[in-house]
């Protein structure tokens, strides 16, 4: 079974985010980017399937300043191959999905495992858009995957801790919420070793399509609420609860 894992960089939310002068985009000059945490879980779940069922895992990313580091890290973690998409600068989830779909369709695959969402999915999540472009089913919020022949058995989370089990024929796209274990760590020494011994395949992006079909008219920080008061002891908490009549 061949699994393709699209990887995406997103702004590191530890950083303070600013809107640029246009008022319609983030000011990215000083923003640090990191791997979408849900994509990290998608990669981990794919690697677990490699460990347990011999799946072949390919990591894929759009060319950016940090794409090589991202892909070499995926290889160091255990991915079998890596593909870098060139020749396009996607502006939204639809264009990003179109880039991945163009490349994935030419690769041959059984599963696409991607993060269930990312912090900038204004026009929808990558997985369902990608599945629509590829003409295959998609299930989101997946927390466990098992391979059984030409299908996979997955767990999907609902609210309130309820989950459902589904059987899905491949090929399919899975939006991974959480891998069965914490994403593994790749030591820097191993990443450097991989850089010297392994190469990344390059694939042209192809047509990006027309995109989201909606325009951003304004971006701003949310209006602040009344703030939070930090309490330092149980006694303080009890005092607050007494004041609101709960004890």
């Amino acid at each position: 079974m061949r699994i393709i894992v699209p990887l995406k960089l997103v702004p590191d939310l530890v950083e303070e985010l600013e809107v640029d002068d246009s008022g319609r985009a983030l000011d990215t000059e000083y923003v640090k980017f990191k791997l979408n945490e849900f994509d990290d879980h998608a990669l981990e779940e794919a690697l677990l399937l490699k460990d347990s069922a011999g799946a072949e895992v390919t990591a894929m990313a759009v060319v950016t300043e940090d794409a090589d580091k991202l892909l070499f890290t995926a290889l160091a973690k255990g991915a079998d191959s890596a593909i870098k998409l060139t020749g396009g600068e996607p502006k939204d989830s639809h264009q990003l999905a179109r880039m991945f779909a163009n490349a994935i369709a030419s690769q041959g695959f059984d599963l696409v495992m991607t993060g269930v969402q990312s912090v900038d999915d204004r026009d929808g999540q990558l997985g369902p858009i990608l599945a629509t472009y590829l003409g295959i089913p998609c299930i989101s919020v997946v927390t466990g995957v098992q391979i059984s022949g030409n299908s996979v058995t997955i767990n999907k989370e609902y609210s309130g801790g309820v989950m459902a089990e589904f059987e899905v024929d491949t090929p399919a796209v899975l939006g991974i919420q959480a891998a069965r274990q914490t994403p593994r760590y790749a030591p820097v020494s191993k990443i450097r070793q991989i850089q010297q011994t392994t190469s990344i395949e390059t694939v042209a992006a192809g047509d990006l399509g027309s995109g989201a079909g909606s325009e951003i008219s304004h971006m701003s920080r949310p209006e602040k609420g009344q703030g939070a008061k930090m309490l330092n002891s149980v006694d303080e908490l009890l005092e607050v609860l007494k004041q609101v009549g709960l004890v």
């Binding site: 809107v19 639809h94 929808g124 274990q181 989201a212 079909g213 971006m219 949310p222 309490l231």
Partner: protein, 251 residues
């Protein structure tokens, strides 16, 4: 048409709160657009259409009572194709994600996710999405039929919770390709607590000192509250978020 179509959600035979949030908002928007507030229901949920009294029309696509992403999305797509609503409202939820985005993409309709406010403007709609970990609000303008996915909790569910007898229209919808098959529902472990059923939650962190400090609280102080969530024994999902279905230490 200027209708506002709401994709209802149900679980274990009950409409989910987000359904009523969307219906309340849809009714308000339909009042401006001059169209109808239309609720789309699945499986046998048309039997509970009386809970959707705020809707001007309930469209029932039948099919399985158990949610199936492929089947439900195909059904919604066929209804949207046939009825051409001005706006489709879906939850930005586990179920809504599988429906809203693929339907919008397949029908070449703009999709707006993470939406927590939507207002009519200049013949179209202005949607506000809470992105980047709720650090930035992004306002999008759409001037043609669109799919908008609403964050649960954005609107008052009570505003859409009205009993009545809306007309019901059966619709022969597409059923999907049968590549996704529901197997079973998995309930949370028996010892867990559903925090959504509690009126008051008290979350405690390191400041509490130790779990003994919780146990030592007089029980009559704890009684009116829901679960107390101690830092010891607190279950976290593998994604690093607390799992509402897996709290320990119910009081």
């Amino acid at each position: 048409m200027s209708d506002i179509l709401v994709i209802t959600e149900h679980l274990k035979g009950q409409f989910q709160d987000v359904t009523f949030e969307m219906l309340g908002k849809a009714k308000e928007l339909a009042g401006v657009s001059g169209g109808q507030c239309v609720a789309l229901v699945f499986g046998g949920m048309k039997e509970k259409a009386g809970e959707l009294g705020i809707a001007d029309l309930v469209v029932s696509v039948g099919g399985s009572d158990d949610y199936n992403p492929e089947e439900y999305a195909a059904a919604v797509q066929s209804v949207v194709s046939a009825r051409s609503p001005e706006l489709v409202l879906a939850g930005y939820t586990s179920m809504g994600m599988d429906i809203g985005t693929p339907v919008g993409t397949a029908l070449d309709m703009p999709v707006i996710a993470y939406c927590h406010d939507i207002q009519p403007a200049d013949g179209g709609y202005v949607c506000t999405s809470r992105l980047y970990g709720a650090k930035i609000d992004v306002v999008s303008s759409v001037n043609r039929p669109a799919v908008v996915m609403l964050l649960a909790g954005s609107f008052d569910a009570d505003a859409g919770r009205t009993s009545g007898a809306p007309p019901i229209e059966d619709f022969a919808a597409e059923g999907g390709a049968g590549k996704v098959r529901f197997k079973s529902l998995i309930e949370p472990e028996a010892g867990d607590v559903d925090i959504t059923q509690s009126d008051v939650l008290v979350a405690v962190g390191r400041g509490i000192g130790s779990q003994d400090d919780i146990e030592n609280w007089p029980r009559n102080w704890r009684k009116p509250w829901g679960p107390i969530l101690p830092h010891h024994g607190l279950w976290w999902t593998r994604a690093g978020y607390p799992n509402p279905g897996r709290w320990a230490n119910q009081v």
